[in-house]
């Protein structure tokens, strides 16, 4: 029952006295007296931890246990994400070094860069031989954002040609005012 109280979001803790436990049991729940505390990961409420027993005794144990679990899983997730990025970097480096003749798949390249850098958008433009015109070869980002960019600009970015990259940036600033954009 303590988890239900915490689930409401109004409190981080729930103290269940013997009287309350009896009351909840009469309502048909399997409740024991004890203490419940919220588990948070990266500032989000993800669950609760409960220990049955005398509140004065179990309260500090429950609090520190809930915090330990939150901290432990946060660290585990950070480590997992770091490893995923390292794997992406390794595969990207392997692809670049293994494919010097044929070039690389531009879309895979921007997709990987998006994960590695955490940018909102990654856009890859290729210069033509005289260096004056650039062609957008690949674009990665949230599908919804890419769809919005197409809607705002009125055309598909991939394959578009611009006179110079600065033109693209000023074009974005003009057309997509108010839309946050990161370009690498």
């Amino acid at each position: 029952m303590g988890s239900v109280i915490i689930l409401s979001g109004e409190t981080d803790e729930a103290v269940i006295s013997e009287e309350k436990a009896e009351e909840y049991r009469n309502m048909g729940t399997d409740t024991k007296a004890g203490y419940n505390y919220v588990i948070t990961i990266f500032g989000k409420r993800v669950g609760s931890l409960g220990i049955a027993g005398e509140t004065g005794f179990v309260k500090p144990i429950a609090r520190i246990s809930a915090k330990t679990i939150g901290l432990y899983i946060s660290e585990y997730l950070k480590e997992k994400e770091k490893n995923r990025i390292l794997q992406k970097m390794a595969s990207l480096a392997e692809e670049i070094s293994g494919n010097p003749q044929n070039g690389i798949d531009c879309q895979i390249f921007t997709d990987d860069l998006l994960i590695i850098t955490g940018a909102k958008f990654v856009l890859l433009d290729l210069y033509n031989p005289d260096g004056r015109v650039v062609t957008i070869a690949a674009l990665s980002g949230e599908p919804e954002d890419i769809w919005n960019s197409k809607r705002i600009l009125g055309y598909q970015l991939i394959g578009s040609q611009f006179n110079h990259i600065c033109t693209i940036i000023s074009f974005f600033k003009r057309k997509a005012a108010g839309v946050r954009l990161s370009i690498l």
Partner: protein
């Protein structure tokens, strides 16, 4: 909403076991929907 605790149940079980054995307390963990996802309490 992703169920972070359920998605990392192996880690959660390990930490719960450690806490339970160190403190001598049986712990119950519920996810953000109130469902019990881990309990170190033995029958009785």
């Amino acid at each position: 909403m992703a169920n972070v605790l359920k998605d990392n149940l192996d880690v959660l079980k390990d930490v719960s076991k450690m806490i339970s054995s160190e403190t001598g307390c049986n712990i119950i963990i519920c996810d953000h929907e109130g469902e019990i996802i881990e309990a170190t309490e033995k029958n009785g």
